[in-house]
């Protein structure tokens, strides 16, 4: 890192963006929508953040960041502690190891990839939840939650691309 102290602070702040944005998605997922029947199928927004940044800026979303985001998500949502940490970590680890495949590919490929990763993530979360609670949980809204999350990827993914181009290009 070179440049004046101000530049370094500026750079540092820019580099916290992936974490901050994903954290905001954690909060957004917990916001009351007051829509009938929507809460059980509320999309898992933070997964989109973890997926995107782990592929396109893995230097800014390290495993410990994914772990911390998961822990915060568990506490905010009231899910068993550690379940989302494990899920986010798995997504981060998978995406970082497979990122060469996604780099330079079209948006559609990234979307398709997210469809796969999201299915895996929700499965891990479900199994983790069952393990902690020691009983079989009704998957209930999981399928719809999956569809909602995947449908929202283009919108949030597009916003991420704008953010990356505008603020993180020189990173």
């Amino acid at each position: 890192m070179k440049g004046s102290p101000i530049q370094r602070v500026d750079q540092g702040l820019r580099h916290t963006l992936p974490f901050v944005i994903t954290l905001l998605l954690v909060f957004m997922a917990a916001t009351p929508t007051h829509l009938p029947g929507f809460t059980p199928i509320m999309p898992q927004l933070p997964l989109i953040g973890v997926y995107y940044w782990a592929i396109f800026r893995p230097d800014l979303l390290r495993p410990w960041t994914a772990f911390a985001l998961g822990a915060i998500s568990d506490i905010v949502a009231g899910t068993p502690l550690g379940v989302s940490s494990l899920t986010f970590l798995a997504v981060q680890g998978f995406c970082e190891s497979q990122r060469r495949f996604f780099l330079g590919k079209s948006f559609l490929v990234a979307w398709w990839g997210f469809g796969l990763v999201c299915a895996g993530a929700l499965a891990i979360e479900w199994v983790g939840g069952c393990l902690v609670m020691l009983r079989l949980l009704a998957p209930g809204g999981l399928l719809f939650q999956y569809l909602m999350t995947v449908m929202l990827y283009p919108l949030i993914g597009w916003a991420f691309i704008r953010v990356q181009l505008a603020i993180l290009r020189h990173g």
Binding site: F27, M28, A29, A30, T31, P32, T33, H34, L35, P36, G37, F38, T39, P40, I41, M42, P63, W64, A66, F67, G70, A71, I72, D74, I75, V76, A77, G78, T79, P80, L81, G82, V83, S85, L86, L89, G93, W126, G128, G129, L131, V132, M133, R135, L137, A138, P139, G140, G141, L142, Q145
Partner: protein, 279 residues
């Protein structure tokens, strides 16, 4: 050097995976540390959630007001009719009240302890396969205590399960960890209402000869001493194949403000028992 760094990274990743499992175990053991962690993080994020829940509420209000306009005429007719009927009931209730008071004075009846309550805003609403809970913008500094009843209007919503300084978590009746002693109002049959994270919790431990029909009212029984008897909970929704489902009176999506009520009963149980109920 590069291989060393990759090795270190792999090790860090594996360590974090192990840490996740440790967190799960720690949460399962339900130690004081986990509770402290939950309340500290909850208190920190509560203001953010509160700010974020406001625009969402505004949008919801807009949608609602458009729907309301369409409904208002029919509603008016219904309410006029209902008002007429209720006025009749009011007369009856007044008479009963007077009668009740005079009977109590003859019986030296000991009244229920005083009830105190306050209203809190819903700032977080999380549900799914794992939990059904809500976050409120009131915590221990406002006087919320674990185990207190959470009501919307006259009907029961859930109980306070976690209290931070400025937030509290409500365990809804529909949550998989919620078990509430109830009674069928008409037949006085006792049972336990157990959530399963769906909209309609189940009625368990019904006596074998119980007669249950859809539409029967379910209220709290007061057993266990955590809540007073007679708080409205819901109505029987269906009774198929021995599985009795209850439709709560309260729809969670309608909740913007709820009332946290202290019936002065928490003291009857030892502190731990109240906490267990909240779990």
């Amino acid at each position: 050097m590069a291989t060393l760094r990759i090795l270190a990274q792999r090790f860090a990743f594996a360590a974090l995976i192990v840490a996740s499992f440790m967190l799960m175990l720690l949460g399962k053991a339900d130690t004081l540390v986990v509770e402290r962690l939950r309340t500290v993080v909850g208190d920190t994020v509560a203001p953010v959630l509160e700010v974020m829940s406001r625009p969402a509420a505004t949008i919801a209000e807009l949608v609602q007001s458009v729907r309301d306009i369409a409904r208002i005429r029919a509603e008016n007719v219904r309410l006029t009719e209902e008002n007429r009927r209720l006025l009749d009931w009011q007369t009856v209730a007044r008479r009963l009240d007077v009668e009740n008071r005079s009977l109590r004075s003859q019986l030296r009846f000991v009244p229920d302890p005083g009830v105190s309550f306050f209203t809190a805003r819903v700032i977080g609403d999380t549900g799914g396969a794992f939990v059904d809970s809500m976050l409120l913008n009131a915590g221990s500094r406002d006087g919320v205590r674990k185990g207190e009843a959470v009501m919307a209007g006259e009907a029961m919503v859930g109980r306070v399960a976690e209290v931070g300084l400025r937030f509290s978590r409500v365990l809804l009746l529909t949550d998989i960890n919620s078990h509430l002693p109830v009674i069928l109002q008409d037949s006085a049959t006792k049972a336990i209402l157990s959530g399963d994270n769906t909209d309609e919790p189940r009625l368990n431990y019904l006596p074998p000869n119980a007669v249950v029909a859809p539409g029967d009212r379910v209220v709290t029984s007061g057993d266990g001493g955590a809540f007073p008897p007679g708080l409205p909970v819901g109505v029987i929704a269906s009774t198929q194949e021995g599985i009795v489902l209850v439709r709560p009176f309260v729809h969670r999506y309608e909740l913007e403000y709820v009332t946290v009520v202290d019936y002065g009963l928490a003291g009857i149980l030892a502190g731990d028992a109240v906490e267990d109920l909240g779990r």
